[in-house]
């Protein structure tokens, strides 16, 4: 029975190390398991030995006064290869629509864009900012001081524009429709 429970505790330590972002102290592991620190330290040593001697690609390291799980250094090249830069070209429909709104309505907030697109634009805006096509240009003087977005120089270069004035003119009809969407409610 004693052995059984120790094995369970060791598995639990393993699960906790796996799920953690940074190093965990033996004390915090002991608290979570409600067993004494000495036992946890013994379990941690067992785990370190087990991984070191096995053919596993993983290991437990003692670092910064705590313990952390990671990959063995000899396999790091595969891990890196896996995360090789993904070359992404093109814009998704959501990103294209969001960029169109920012281009013609800048500076504008996410709420302004959502009013026109009718859907949440968080991830589309993030992707445009990541691509360097849109950027934060200030804060709106309104409750919550929401971020205002605008296009970047990279945006101009990517579309072959000299200035924003080179964006094609919108027809009168579009301005009338915009009034319908947000009827002078620009408080």
């Amino acid at each position: 029975m004693k052995t059984m429970r120790l094995e369970e505790a060791r598995a639990a330590v393993e699960a906790m190390l796996f799920s953690s972002h940074g190093p965990l102290s033996a004390a915090s592991l002991a608290q979570a398991l409600q067993i004494d620190v000495k036992t946890v330290e013994a379990l941690l040593r067992q785990l370190m030995t087990k991984y070191r001697n096995s053919e596993s690609g993983l290991a437990v390291f003692s670092v910064a006064g705590g313990f952390i799980m990671g990959t063995k250094p000899e396999y790091s090249k595969y891990v890196e290869r896996l995360h090789e830069p993904v070359v992404r070209a093109g814009l998704s429909q959501a990103a294209l629509e969001t960029l169109a709104v920012i281009a013609y309505r800048q500076p504008c907030t996410k709420a302004d864009i959502e009013m026109i697109r009718g859907v949440n634009v968080d991830s589309a805006v993030t992707s445009l900012v990541d691509r360097g096509l849109a950027t934060e240009v200030g804060r709106k003087d309104a409750p919550g001081r929401p971020i205002l977005y605008g296009t970047t120089e990279k945006f101009l270069v990517s579309f072959g524009l000299n200035t924003l004035d080179d964006l094609p003119q919108l027809p009168e009809k579009t301005f009338l429709q915009l009034q319908e969407i947000a009827p002078a409610s620009d408080d």
Partner: protein, 254 residues
């Protein structure tokens, strides 16, 4: 002494109907429509008594049930729509909707079970690989004209959607609709159902008009006469109200 009243909460009219059918232990293919309609309306009534908002969806279903009930009480005759003969048994149509909804409700339960099980698995926390994504050409093949067209299309779609919503909102007001019907009857004494609705009525418009008439009939303000199956319903203003300007006609203005 105060006591607590508990009213089960339903996901919508179909959920409520299924509950009623299950409680009565009847088969979906064999809906006792008169009885179920009564039960359904009784539930809506208890919601109102408890001051719970009765969603529009529940009213639409109430109207559907009354329609189905009325049709089943009449001898069967085919409906002609767009010059084509439809012979859908309305109860059958309702049964199919209920079966379909029940299937998805069961799948929702299965999903819940799966999620309870899988929710217990801990995964590695997300690590930001700063260099993981590299954008060679951030805009791909998109040209500035695409942005221009896209913006116009978005604004147009949105404006259309806003317009639809405004029309919709105007139509579903029951008391306004009742006021309009009364007003029209005061002017002309009688009218027919088809004149109260537009040429291409939305489902909501039909339902609200129908409900408004039912309510006016119930209050004894209007008399409804139908001279044959599926003939137009004629509406007459009841004599004692004719000519009088009632103070409780919330909307007697045009």
């Amino acid at each position: 002494m105060s006591y607590e009243v508990r009213l089960p909460v339903f996901e919508g009219p179909l959920d409520l109907l299924l509950h009623l059918l299950e409680r009565e232990e009847v088969d979906i293919w064999d809906i006792p429509i008169v009885h179920i309609t009564e039960q359904y309306l009784a539930y809506l009534q208890s919601m109102r008594e408890l001051d719970l908002a009765v969603g529009g969806e529940f009213l639409v279903m109430a109207a559907t049930l009354m329609q189905v009930k009325a049709r089943t009480l009449l001898p069967r005759s085919p409906i002609v729509a767009d010059g084509e003969e439809l012979d859908l048994d309305p109860i059958e149509g309702l049964a199919i909707r209920l079966l379909q909804y029940r299937a998805f409700r069961e799948i929702a339960v299965a999903l819940q079970e799966r999620s309870d099980q899988w929710g217990k698995i801990g995964f590695r926390p997300k690590v930001e690989h700063n260099l993981a994504i590299k954008y060679e050409n951030p805009v791909g093949k998109v040209k500035v004209d695409d942005l221009w067209k896209c913006f116009q299309q978005l604004v147009k779609d949105r404006a259309d959607a806003v317009r639809v919503r405004q029309v919709h909102r105007r139509e579903v007001n029951l008391s306004e609709r009742m006021g309009e019907i009364l007003l029209r009857l005061r002017v002309g004494r009688h009218t027919v159902f088809s004149q109260l609705i537009s040429k291409q009525p939305t489902r909501e418009e039909l339902v609200v008009t129908f409900l408004a008439i039912l309510e006016l009939v119930r209050r004894g303000r209007v008399q409804a006469v139908q001279y044959g199956n599926f003939s137009d319903i004629q509406l007459n203003l009841c004599a004692e109200h004719a000519g009088k300007g009632d103070e409780d006609d919330a909307t007697g203005r045009s």
